[in-house]
């Protein structure tokens, strides 16, 4: 119940942001018609768990109204790249796929745009570890897990004509507080903060 309240409050924060932005940037809204409406932004990134995950991502953003944006974020993550063999333990494969949809607001300052988006979707993780040591019988185990994926995304674009440089940061809100309020769950959030950079193109 507490988790549901937290999510509701988070949505309230998000939707209070356009009001703040409206006051601050109202003079710029006249320029909306000249700014990108639909963008495609491929990128690469890392997670903050010591940077051992490599992310290949794409954000598609549709700035529907002056202050209302929709987005789709897809990510294929090759996890734990740097340590595939340790003490006789081998990681055969380790990847995850995330797909999220979201909405939020975008505001503009000069040649830059800033979007804050509340995202929700699913994450599929699959990995397999085997024990390969002559002293013991061989053992193996595989995990295939599906989990929710909620969070806040900040996307910054440095616009240059039809193209732009893009930087994104995604802060998950799962497992804390969506799964439970135990602060130890924050470990899962911290490990999955994503930092991404890419080059985008304006489609419309």
């Amino acid at each position: 119940m507490n988790s549901i309240k937290n999510i509701c409050l988070l949505i309230a924060i998000l939707f209070s942001m356009p009001l703040t932005a409206q006051r601050t940037f109202s003079s710029l809204s006249k320029e909306f018609n000249t700014l990108p409406k639909l963008t495609l932004e491929p990128g690469v990134g890392i997670h903050t768990n010591f940077g051992t995950d490599f992310l290949i991502t794409t954000l598609i953003q549709w700035n529907w109204l002056d202050r209302l944006s929709f987005a789709s974020h897809s990510s294929f993550n090759i996890n734990n790249i740097t340590q595939r063999s340790f003490n006789g333990i081998k990681t055969r494969y380790n990847y995850s796929i995330n797909q999220k949809l979201g909405l939020g607001t975008t505001f503009y300052t000069g040649g830059n745009s800033h979007s804050v988006l509340l995202m929700a979707g699913i994450k599929y993780t699959s990995y397999r570890e085997t024990l390969e040591d002559a002293r013991f019988e061989p053992f193996g185990t595989a995990i295939h897990a599906l989990s929710p994926d909620y969070g806040l995304m900040y996307s910054h674009k440095k616009i240059w004509k039809k193209y732009f440089f893009t930087y994104r940061m995604y802060v998950p809100l799962y497992p804390w507080p969506a799964k439970g309020s135990d602060l130890l769950y924050l470990e899962g959030n911290m490990d999955n903060i994503a930092l991404e950079v890419g080059l985008g193109i304006r489609i419309i």
Binding site: N80, F136, P177, S181, L183, E187, G188
Partner: protein, 273 residues
């Protein structure tokens, strides 16, 4: 009221943010202080002082019925949560509660909980186990109304604590009859805990024991899952009198899975001991 006065003067987004943070903050579970005893024991081997906290069941009377005992590693972090859960779960199941015994840090945990020396900060496990066997357990069983049989003693540990529990299982199996091992660091020192299990298997395999193994599904750094599975499957196939189960906590990592696995481990213990 002071909080709401503060909120009144804030911007809408700020207010919502503040409420969000307040609601998200975690209430710390505290075990009933009236049922808690606290003292220190000095290790005869190295002079280290261990802070021991003891949680007694409600209705405990010295000289009355004998209670099973649960020894909790990383006790300074886990004592209140574990003791409170023991009361709740035993009440819910209508079974006898345990005396919880929290072992605080006399040394760095990486020294006390690791069985072999791979650096200056590791390898104190044998000395720590000797301290538990020769000083702590006799003190507890002499002072409190605690059952002195092996089958009534349980050890619980997480991470390096789980590794220490697995070490105790193998090298001194006559000490504890029940093991709650959470995300055990079985990868340590080239899988030395699996070697110990193999080395002492003949002595231990015919004893009755209960083992709960817990881990987080998201512990995917390439070292936790395979030895966990190897240990589980070995116990299952080689120990005919064992009560054994495992739990992989969904979508949680090394720390996040700790408390849910404590709760599940205690449920398994109270239902199957």
């Amino acid at each position: 009221m002071k909080i709401f006065k503060t909120l009144k003067g804030m911007h809408t987004a700020g207010k919502a943010g503040m409420i969000f943070l307040l609601m998200g903050s975690c209430e710390k579970v505290e075990f009933d202080p009236a049922l808690k005893h606290e003292f220190t024991i000095q290790s005869a081997a190295d002079g280290s002082e261990y802070r021991i906290e003891v949680g007694l069941p409600a209705g405990y009377h010295p000289g009355g019925e004998k209670y099973p005992s649960l020894y909790i590693l990383d006790g300074e972090e886990n004592f209140d949560f574990v003791s409170s859960q023991c009361s709740e779960i035993s009440d819910m199941l209508g079974v006898q509660n345990v005396v919880t015994i929290s072992i605080g840090y006399g040394n760095d945990r990486s020294l006390d909980y690791t069985p072999t020396e791979v650096s200056a900060e590791t390898g104190g496990g044998p000395r720590f186990l000797h301290f538990i066997e020769t000083q702590l357990i006799p003190a507890m069983e002499g002072y409190f109304s605690v059952d002195t049989s092996r089958g009534s003693r349980t050890i619980m540990g997480h991470s390096y604590g789980g590794l220490f529990g697995a070490y105790a299982f193998s090298v001194n199996n006559r000490l504890f009859g029940n093991y709650i091992l959470l995300s055990p660091s079985l990868w340590f020192d080239d899988l030395v805990s699996l070697q110990f299990e193999k080395q002492y298997r003949t002595e231990n395999k015919d004893r009755s024991q209960l083992v709960f193994l817990g881990i987080g599904e998201a512990e995917n750094l390439g070292r936790m899952q395979a030895p966990f599975e190897a240990f589980y499957q070995t116990l299952q196939s080689q120990y005919p009198h064992i009560k054994l189960t495992k739990n992989k906590e969904e979508n949680l990592g090394h720390m996040g899975s700790r408390n849910p696995n404590i709760v599940k481990g205690l449920h398994y213990y109270f239902q199957n001991r």
